[in-house]
Symmetry: C2
Subunit: 119 residues, 2 copies
């Protein structure tokens, strides 16, 4: 496993970035915010192109950072449900203005947007 930092940090942005950076993390946050609870395979379908390795790795880091809760149901076949913690919810709220800025930027520069299908 990789990606262990947790400081020292230059500033708050630096510390927040440490937790959010990773190609799929903001998308995971978005999915969990939109659906409340999501199974591993559902997340995988919702993040087109993600490998299982990266998905697990990001989820584990976010769990360690207290953003995501992982609930395991001991059944056969196994079921695992991911959801956001309060801490994750607060991060999402803090990210909202940045998301709006980015959406405006997409419009501004006419960048392509990847359409995610609702499942």
């Amino acid at each position: 496993m990789t990606a262990e930092r947790r400081g020292p940090y230059f500033c708050g942005i630096d510390a927040a970035m440490d937790v959010v950076s990773g190609k799929w993390k903001s998308l995971i946050l978005w999915e969990l915010d939109a659906y409340g609870t999501r199974r591993f395979t559902e997340l995988k379908r919702g993040l087109p192109g993600v490998s299982e390795k990266m998905l697990v790795q990001h989820l584990r880091e976010m769990e360690a950072d207290g953003l995501v809760h992982r609930e395991v149901y001991r059944e056969v076949p196994p079921r695992v449900e991911y959801s956001m913690t309060e801490h994750g919810v607060s991060l999402n709220a803090a990210l909202a203005p940045l998301g709006a800025w980015g959406t405006e930027r997409i419009r501004r520069i006419g960048a392509e947007k990847i359409v995610l299908d609702a499942s």
Copy 2:
């Protein structure tokens, strides 16, 4: 030179991250916001540990993204002043809540904070 993406993006956060990610970019934003205008060497002193290569590279990318304005004074020795554009100012505003969240996180996990000296 590296780092050319500009889409396609999954969402606003993704697009904003594309512009902000880079080890020193948020610090550069912070410096320019605090001082208004900064020369190359001043930025270099303000970002302890940055190499000239990375500093130039980040500044060029931020200039290309319309966040930073670069003013060259044709003197000897040369003088170049960097400042934020309106677009950069709006990004900084959008980053403020995330910065506050990160500052709270530093306190929460008791991470070390790198002290930047005022010059």
